[in-house]
Symmetry: C2
DNA sequence: CTGCGAAGGTGACCTGGGTCACAAAAACTG
DNA sequence: CAGTTTTTGTGACCCAGGTCACCTTCGCAG
């Protein structure tokens, strides 16, 4: 079945155990899966779609951390699940999304029983930790133009398309800046032949 | 012995195992323990002193992530150790420091044998992940004055002293800004009676 | 086709904070 | 204690990027 397919590193027994005890769930595009301060009782594995993980400030600012796609899991939900503490971030379905929710206790028992699960968890931490490091690099050391370029490239990479369907406003939210700034910078990039601009779309060249 | 003392959550057997197989090491103040790009083969537990974990940019910028004190461990070294990959950060002894190095294979076997070790590792990930989140919050959403305030408070907290022995230049490095900016902001804080300034020292009020 | 809302463009202006140049203390050294 | 080094203070200036005001363009619904 699907778990097998998206998580090929899992042992057969592990796949079965998850299949038997975990809960499948669907979210439609735009739905909030988890919000700041919410109590977490399960970890999330993504089967289909895309989930956006971002941080919200008290003053309504918003800041993209990373996206989760099929075959990936939310490190934060893992950590919190184990500690059964509250989330510090918001998760939103960017597209229609299908996930498997693994409750706290199951998580524990899988951990001691299946080496491939343990390794998957470690791998997940590692990847997300790295991702956070690169986020920090970007905001600490780079200017807006470089950050925008990085953002577009990453987006294109992860979605596999060169045509990025985002309005300037949406990009601005993700980078915690204003629409005008993004418009100006994109215009500059267009003049340098790095992108081509359309309504609600940016094409990377 | 000391491991027992600084890591009271460890089972007796675990303490013994570490005592027997891991290596004690000392670093003097200012020594680099681990640098960006270096291959990591062991995890570090801190017994004495203080270690500063920071990120370096290509252009020589520097950016503090967090400090490690007695009883704490380096999450990054754990993750990298397990993956036997390279480090993305630099670790420097801030004071004379004593650590225990736990080699990769030992790490693995402790993980499956001792529940208290497994929990310690998870706990460490959690703490550091949170710390990174708050670092991101700060640089993404806050201005320099708030960041400086946060920085000083954290420093005071962690060292347990209200007298902070740092030059303006050192603070500036940690926050990846310039000395002048820190001087100006500290002066303003002094006028607002939040701190008192001395040479090479800041006192939090 | 018209009218309206959403997206994008643009100029004017402001501010935080980075940079430069230099002065004044403070501390260390012979 | 005269000279040197380190730290701190400060004014002048600049630039990225945030803010505001307002315009244009596109696409859609009636």
């Amino acid at each position: 079945m699907t778990i097998q397919q998206y998580f090929p590193s899992f042992e057969k027994d592990l796949t079965d155990a998850i299949e038997k005890e975990a809960v499948h769930k669907s979210f439609s595009a735009g739905e909030i899966i988890m919000r700041t301060g919410q109590y977490i009782k399960s970890t999330i594995l993504v089967l289909q779609g895309r989930i956006k993980i971002y941080r919200e400030s008290d003053e309504g600012g918003e800041f993209l951390m990373y996206y989760l796609g099929p075959g990936e899991a939310c490190a934060i939900s893992m950590i919190c699940a184990i500690q059964s503490s509250t989330s510090e971030v918001t998760a939103k379905a960017e597209e229609d999304t299908e996930v498997v929710m693994i409750p706290l206790q199951l998580m524990e028992s899988l951990m001691s029983k299946y080496k491939s699960w343990y390794q998957f968890v470690i791998q997940t931490y590692r990847t997300r930790f790295d991702e956070l490091l690169s986020v920090i690099d970007n905001i600490a050391f780079r200017n807006m133009d470089e950050r925008l370029e990085f953002y577009l490239k990453r987006y294109a990479n992860e979605s596999g398309k060169k045509l990025i369907s985002l309005s300037h406003q949406e990009i601005a939210y993700d980078l915690n800046t204003s629409r005008e700034v993004i418009s100006r910078l994109l215009k500059k990039m267009e003049q340098r032949n790095m992108v081509k601009l359309y309504r609600n779309m940016v094409e990377l060249l």
